[in-house]
Every structure is written in C-alpha cells, then in structure tokens.
Symmetry: C2
C-alpha cells in the first residue's frame, strides 16, 4: 500500500510502498480517508521534534486522521464505522497513565506518538489500532474528521485553563489567539464560550484567513501594528490567551496580554532560545494580578469526543473554508509545500 514517510538523512517526505498492516489480536484495521498536515509534521520532517520508531530508518508520518473501519476484529466497532485515532500509545507495556485513560499526562518515556515520536503514523492507505484508541465520529465527518485531533488539543488546553480558574468566579469574556489552522479551529471553538475573540496575524487584506476570522465574528489584529504585549492598550486585557505558535517569547509576552485573573494556555513547542526579559516585573505581574500559565500537550479520548461535538456546532461553511488543499499521496511534495494561500492541507487516500 502507499504511505508517506520521511527517511533518515532526508528532510523531504516521499511516497513509499509498504505492506498493508496486519491487525494484531484485538486490533482494528482502518482504511484511511484523509490525513491532515500541521506544524508538528514539519518539525518531525526537519528532525526538530519526535523521532523514528526504534530500529527503523524511516517513519510513516501523520497524526491527524479519519478513516473507515475495514475489519473491526472482535471490537465493538462495525465495518464501515467512521473513526478518528488518538495519537499516544504505550511504549511496549502499558502504564498507569494509559490505564487511567490519561496518556496525554504521561511524561517522557511513558509513551510513543504515532507519526511523531517512536511510532509510525496514519499517512498510509491502511492503519491498525487497538479499539480503545479509536473514536467513533458521525458519518458526515468523512471529509473533515481529521480535524478532530487538532481540535482535541484545543479542548484539552481550554479544559485545563478553565480548571485553573475554577477556584473563583472567573469573568471570562475575551480571548486572544493566533491565526494558524489550529488558531482558526480554536476561534470557532471559543465563539461558543467567549464574548469577544481576537485573532492575531501578519496578513494584508484581502486575505482568506482574515475573512474566516471575521465571518466567525472574531476581530483580526495585525501583530505588526499591535504586538502581543500591546493588545490590552489597543483592545482590552485578555481573560484567556491560547498560544500555539511555539514562538518562545510569547510564553512571557502573554503575561502582559492577560487581564487580571487571566490564564494563558501554551501549546507550541519552541526550540532553545536565550533572551533577556524583565523577569522581576513579569513575576510580580503574575502574582499581583492572579495570572496563570498552563502548559498543555496532546489530548485524551474525552477531548476527542468533545472536539467531535464542537465540530458539529461549527457553521457549515467553516471547514470548507479551512481545508484549502486536498492532495492524493502522489502529490506529497505539493501537500507539504507551504504556500501563502494554504490554510489546511490534507492528503487524501480514499473517499468514503
């Protein structure tokens, strides 16, 4: 079957022909429909994040997938069910994080991540998985169900942020985030719970991303004119900041963007970068204004289920506008190309 993989010593993914996987006892065989591409894939390809499966000289990419159950084995799934796989798996034996259903909270060494770290991903015509790592989604999700995985990360970050403000009566009205594909998904999500959502970018009108932001009812903020720490003066202090770009300074700049009692969720993964900052002032600001910073990585099954529910609530036009590039596996180079007009690029292995 066709798969898209990155090989040791290379920084460009290629189509490879690999044997169709045989499900182990208890596993489900899934026929892949679509697999989304995000910044993590580019980091994996460039060797900046994750790692090859043990002993392998190539890794099949892809962690945002939707597929159809081809062989349910002895699971509760039925042939033809539409499913989305989660990302983390136990590294050999299980461990308490997986046993509690919280693999997203497992520390280094207690998990592998399919398509990212130590395990092959879903960018192949078929994949197998234990059934507990597959989430059933509605049949209508065939074209966009791969968005459940990225959105599940936002669901987790939001859940943890809201929890961090649960000891008092949090007045959560305003939110700030970036305009990447995960940012746009999260703009749509936050429209359900925040009164005013601001989305930062570096774009000139006319621009399809700005159109999406405004059509969702959010406010576009040009970060070239209004950098993160200037947002409160230009607009208002933010009750919630969702930082998924991985720009290292944002973790600290967002302290100034927050309103009193605000919380910032950090999801991006920066490289090392040493710089100067007024740590005394930032530390004091966190304390005197009861601010919080929450790191959040990965997600677990209930976050996938919440993401599927949220996707149903999004306006119909939204996912069509978001998915700008649908490529067959043979057009791998084009699928991974970073063009200005690309919002979300996917590889399509089959249609339902």
């Amino acid at each position: 079957m066709k798969a898209i993989a990155v090989h040791r010593g290379e920084t460009t993914p290629r189509v490879v022909d690999v044997p169709r996987p045989t499900p182990n006892v208890g596993e489900v065989l899934v026929r892949t429909l679509r697999v989304g591409i995000d910044g993590t894939d580019h980091e994996v390809i460039e060797g900046n994040h994750g790692g090859y499966p043990a002993g392998a000289d190539r890794q099949i990419l892809g962690h945002e997938a939707v597929g159809v159950v081809e062989d349910p084995g002895d699971s509760a799934f039925a042939e033809g069910d539409l499913v989305v796989p989660t990302v983390r798996r136990p590294p050999g034996d299980s461990n308490p994080y997986f046993e509690r259903g919280e693999p997203d909270m497992a520390p280094d060494g207690m998990y592998v991540e399919r398509g990212i770290a130590g395990a092959d991903g879903y960018m192949a015509a078929y994949f197998t998985s234990p059934p507990e790592f597959l989430v059933r989604v509605p049949d209508s999700f065939a074209a966009f169900g791969f968005l459940v995985e990225p959105l599940s990360n936002a669901e987790k970050a939001l859940e943890h942020a809201v929890s961090a403000r649960s000891a008092f009566d949090w007045q959560s009205e305003s939110a700030l985030l970036g305009n990447g594909p995960l940012g746009l998904l999260t703009v749509a999500l936050l429209q359900n719970s925040f009164d005013r959502v601001y989305c930062l970018g570096r774009r000139d009108r006319p621009d399809a991303t700005i159109d999406i932001i405004e059509k969702l009812g959010a406010t576009y903020v040009d970060s070239r004119e209004t950098p993160v720490p200037a947002v409160p003066d230009a607009h208002e202090g933010m009750d919630f900041v969702f930082e998924a770009t991985g720009y290292a300074k944002h973790a600290f700049e967002c302290i100034d963007a927050l309103a009193p009692n605000g919380v910032a969720a950090l999801l991006g993964i920066p490289e090392n970068w040493t710089f100067e900052l007024d740590g005394g002032r930032l530390h004091r600001e966190i304390v005197l204004q009861n601010k919080a910073l929450i790191g959040s990585v990965n997600s677990h099954v209930p976050h996938f289920e919440a993401a599927a529910d949220s996707l149903v609530s999004f306006p119909d036009w939204f996912v069509d506008a978001l998915i700008t590039d649908v490529n067959p596996p043979e057009q791998v180079a084009r699928a991974f190309e970073r063009r200005d007009e690309t919002i979300k690029s996917v590889v399509e292995f089959a249609t339902k």
Copy 2:
C-alpha cells in the same frame, strides 16, 4: 492610643499617639492583642510596596492581627469574641469583587489593603472593621491567631494550584518551598496533604529553623549546595512548588524544579529585574510536561476559615517555636530588627 506608623520621608516605623477610632454605623470595635510582622511590612516601610492612605502623611502598619471584640455594635459578634481581620477593603464604594466575597481577585484600583496600600493597618491598641471582614477564631488563638492571615494566603495558593490540576488525576506527593516564616507555616500545612515536603534555605546547623523543618517531618535542602533547578536531580521532581520569597528568578527556575504535571504557586513580589534566560527551553518544558504556574495574592474569608482549621491541626509545639520575638509597642525598633535568630516577630498590644 498607641499605634506604630511609618511617616512620609522616613524608613523607620515609630510609636505614635493617635485617637482611639470610633466605629462607624455597623462597624465593630476590636481591641488588638498581637500583630505579626512579615516581609510585606518591610517593603511598605521601605516604600517598595503599597502606599499611604489618601492625603495622609503617615500609615499605621500591620495586616496580620488578632484581637478581641470590645464593641460589637449591631453585628452578630459578642463582646469578648476573638477575631482576625481580613486585609482588603473596598476603595470607597463596594464593587463586584467584594460583593462576590472575592476581594482577593480584585484588580489594581478596586481595593485598598489595610496596613499595606491606601489604608491604616492594625498595629494599634484598637481598630474598627465592618463585621464581614472579621473572622471568628477559637479563644485558644489569642497568642497566635495573627498567623491566620499569612496562612490564609497559603490556603488560597494551594486551593488555586490544586484547582489548576483538577482536570486530571494529579499524583501529588512531593512539594518544595522556602524556609521563611510563611514557608514554615506552609510546611506544616502541606504535611497534611503531601507525602514528601522539601524546605530550601541557606542555613548552617545547628539552627532553630532547620530543627522546625525536621521536627515537622520535612527535608531541609541547603540551596547553596542545591539551587532550585538542581532539586530534581538531588531529590526528585516536585509536584508542587510554593514560591513566596519574591526572588524573581525563582518564577522561572521553578519550572525545572517541577515534576511532569506539576504546578508552582507564586506569591512573592519582586522588584524589576532584567536577566537572560533560555525562554525557548522553559516554554517547551512547560508545554511538553503539562506544567503550570499560578500567581496568587491575598485571600478571602473562606481561606481565613480554612487557615484557622489548619492551625488547630498543627502540633502544639509548632507555633511556640515559630514565634520567637514578642515585643511591646515601645520596642518597635527591636520588633522590626532582622536578627538571624528571629523567625516570627510580633508586636503585642495586650493579652486577653
């Protein structure tokens, strides 16, 4: 009556003679027993924190008090009740933070703080207060009830930290904190909920503070040998860090001290201080290990009530060992002197 105040242009508190306050309608008159001194008092005296009451050229100090109701007015208190006052008051009119009972979450400008910012404190033979800002404590608290206020700040910080970890099954076993008076109170508090508590200091044995730490069952860590980021290698990663020193770098160093999924509560109030750090690495560490930083200032009535309950649970010897200096108001200079052997210094206006 006697009071201890700091005057504009001075950095040494003095005893002053001021009129006994007359309760406004609805207020309670309290005869002061003891008032504790902490680092915030020194910052106020030095002009680094807080500020004088509007139009005043002096401020009565003191925010950690215990007293006896002398005139309950039409409140539900009875003459002779032992009470501890909270610190924040509305700046003139009330506002939603006070109406919700959460003055600790009010932003700048929405509160004054008695003895700290914009209002006279409790370091006087008598003080008045609306009854809703007085917390009844057991009669046995006459000598140490002033500890309810500092401990209430730890109760709040712990409550917010635990809330920030409530979205998953947090394995909270280890905690790290400093060895100042608030640190020692919090060591006693954390003995109720953490298996292993580590207390950092720069002390040579024999030392009374180290004795208290070890008698409470915690582990003393010499920070000259084991600075904050080195604690995980020397001991273990910390599920909870309680940082109340206000040393600006700690806000960032504690990210490395935390175990995966750990949370640091920041309570100290540093001055501006610009320094270099590897912000990329720290940002990445917060994200990939699901770590959290929570700022926490002040406390509200339920935190005072929780602190009173906790004080009852502490071993009998503990508060005696903590309170090393009891001074009449005339010995104000000695009360505010910072001697090596001082742990907690108090000004005693009367005994019950």
